[in-house]
């Protein structure tokens, strides 16, 4: 099983690294901040290694000339699907709040984003 895996990775990887010879390093601290995702410091090294290896694979795509190729972001060909402008029932407030662990006065409680004394 390990043999096929190595073979497969080899057959795919051998071509992939040709066009670049430096390893892309992903800045986990910066990315986790952008993604609002707390990452423990011991996880950072592991993720950095794993994600950099995956980014290496992505470099294979640079082999393909795509200068005059359109982008595809959906495959159905549908455009501008709108619903009739009719009012329909929403979920009752009690239902909507039911799954929240932090509510107050029938509202969601959110973390503080503005601080007292600081002009917005």
């Amino acid at each position: 099983m390990t043999l096929w895996k190595n073979k497969l990775i080899y057959s795919l990887q051998s071509v992939w690294v040709l066009s670049y010879n430096h390893l892309m390093i992903i800045d986990i601290s910066h990315i986790s901040k952008l993604a609002n995702l707390p990452i423990a410091s011991k996880e950072k090294i592991k993720f950095e290694k794993q994600l950099s290896a995956i980014l290496e694979h992505f470099k294979k795509l640079s082999e393909v000339v795509t200068d005059n190729i359109d982008e595809t972001n959906q495959v159905t060909g549908l455009i501008n699907i709108v619903r009739p402008d009719e009012i329909s029932l929403s979920l009752p407030q009690s239902e909507v709040l039911k799954n929240s662990k932090n509510t107050q006065n029938d509202m969601f409680t959110v973390p503080v984003i503005l601080q007292e004394g600081i002009e917005p």
């Binding site: 057959s11 794993q50 795509l61 393909v64 619903r83 799954n99």
Partner: protein, 469 residues
């Protein structure tokens, strides 16, 4: 014949002729589920009381003479499908206590059709994975060998059908998550055309790739289930308004003269030689049944994994951004490792300065892969290809190597990139482990896929083989 071994189609006949009741069928399924669950870990929630209540209602409807395909038939749902009032977790600790206030369209349709929900299945958390091991609630075991993975991410749904717990189950397929586990568990797995089945109320993974499909024992059963789940849904703007076809109509037509393409890029040196032989043997069988086999090329196949993992993780990072612990669920530190990896990868490739090199490039390659299929379908009616480069692997073998795990999706992601349908049919056993072949067709060609699957099954009825449990 044991009741739990029935196909949807056989159960239908016996329910309609009153040989059995839905209560009997449902009790049989629940007993088997509860007996096997400690071995398989295929379920996260069992809805025993709801099931028995629904079965009673179904029996009443049958008694009144109602005849619909899934009335009174037990099934299970991957835990991606929202079920009003029934816990839905996506197999993640983030949603461990989440009780949805509304239901997915698919679940509503199945309930209206009188199908009987047994419970919610285990899976890779958020549908991220190819083995079932990424579940925050433990890995699901393959009924053909309990030391092996059943494939993923729809691990629990595949095992439910493979272990004869229910005759059908619902999964989701974003990059192969139905077709691959079907291949590894000797079940029939359908990934419908993008937009054929509503995505409304199903936890989103990568919205431009997500499709809602199912597992069954036979191609005919697969056709019966799609006849219920397919159709336009005003709640899903990407669902198609094309009419739902009579998927059973052509099943008994032979496949003489049909052109079946064999893409050379799907028979590569890195794959397991025995799997390759098994798939080639299946293609030979299509030829014996009268089909014409034509070698074709899908030249951009080798770029599919790269393009897919760029676009999919970008969509994942944006879809999972809503889980902030404010309105429901826990805070973001509860995400498992694989979700964290994908969120960060997607955030990175979408970030300023990298967008053109990754995301935009990925979308352009998506165009090329789609064009490959368009051109191929000018020459052939369908394509037959391997679904997984190996049989099921040992639990833990790839758990610390995300790249190796991603590469195992090499034959399945292309169909999601192009939005085309795919049907996995069981074709062989190697050392006691199942091998499947996937049939890929043009958009909305499900009816043809079922016909070919059914004709093949008549010649090689592997669904009659059962795991020893």
């Amino acid at each position: 014949m044991n009741l739990h071994e029935l196909t949807v189609s056989d159960a239908r006949k016996m329910l309609d002729t009153k040989e059995i009741s839905s209560i009997e069928l449902t009790n049989t399924s629940l007993t088997r589920l509860e007996e096997l669950e400690p071995k398989l870990n295929a379920f996260l929630t069992i809805t025993r009381d709801i099931a028995l209540n629904d079965a009673k209602k179904a029996d009443n409807r049958i008694a009144k003479g109602e005849k619909t395909p899934l009335l009174g038939i037990p099934f299970s749902l991957k835990d991606m499908y929202l079920t009003k009032g029934i816990r839905t977790t996506a197999a993640s600790k983030v949603l461990e206590d989440y009780i949805p206030p509304y239901s997915s369209t698919v679940f509503t349709k199945l309930q209206d059709a009188g199908a009987v929900l047994l419970g919610k299945n285990n899976q890779d958390a958020w549908a991220h994975g190819s083995s079932g091991e990424n579940s925050d609630f433990g890995a699901t075991k393959n009924p053909w060998n309990l030391e092996m993975i059943p494939g993923g991410s729809s691990s629990g749904p595949a095992v439910t059908v493979a272990a004869d717990i229910a005759p059908f189950s619902m999964g989701t397929d974003t990059g192969g998550s139905i077709r691959q586990p079907a291949g590894l568990t000797n079940t029939v797995g359908l990934k419908p055309t993008y937009g054929r089945v509503s995505r409304y109320g199903v936890i989103a993974m990568a919205s431009s790739f997500d499709t809602m499909g199912h597992f069954t024992k036979t191609a005919k059963d697969s056709a019966m289930v799609l006849s219920v789940t397919a159709g336009n849904d005003p709640h899903d703007a990407t669902s198609s308004s094309l009419p739902v076809e009579d998927y059973l109509a052509d099943l008994n037509k032979n496949i003489k003269g049909l052109r079946i393409g064999m893409p050379k890029e799907y028979f590569i040196p890195g794959m397991d030689a025995q799997v390759r032989n098994a798939v080639e043997k299946a293609i030979k069988k299509f030829e014996e049944l009268g089909a014409k086999i034509i070698e074709i090329s899908l030249p951009h196949t080798e770029y599919a994994i790269g393009a897919y993992y760029i676009l999919q993780t970008a969509e994942v990072s944006s879809n999972l951004a809503r889980y902030d612990g404010i309105r429901y669920g826990t805070f973001r530190e509860y995400f498992g490792e694989e979700a964290k990896r994908r969120i960060m990868l997607g955030t990175f490739t979408l970030a300023h300065g990298y967008y053109d090199a990754y995301y935009k490039k990925g979308m352009k390659i998506r165009t090329l892969i789609k064009q490959d299929f368009d051109k191929a379908f000018e020459k052939v009616d369908i394509i037959a290809a391997p679904v997984s480069p190996t049989t099921a692997w040992k639990i833990g073998e790839k758990a610390n190597d995300p790249l190796a795990m991603y590469l195992s999706d090499i034959f399945t992601v292309t169909a999601n990139i192009a939005g085309i349908p795919g049907l996995t049919v069981p074709v062989e056993f190697i050392n006691g482990l199942p091998v499947g072949t996937q049939l890929l067709g043009p958009h909305f060609s499900e009816k043809l896929l079922f016909r070919i699957g059914h004709q093949y099954e008549l010649a090689n009825p592997l669904y009659l083989k059962r795991p020893e449990l």
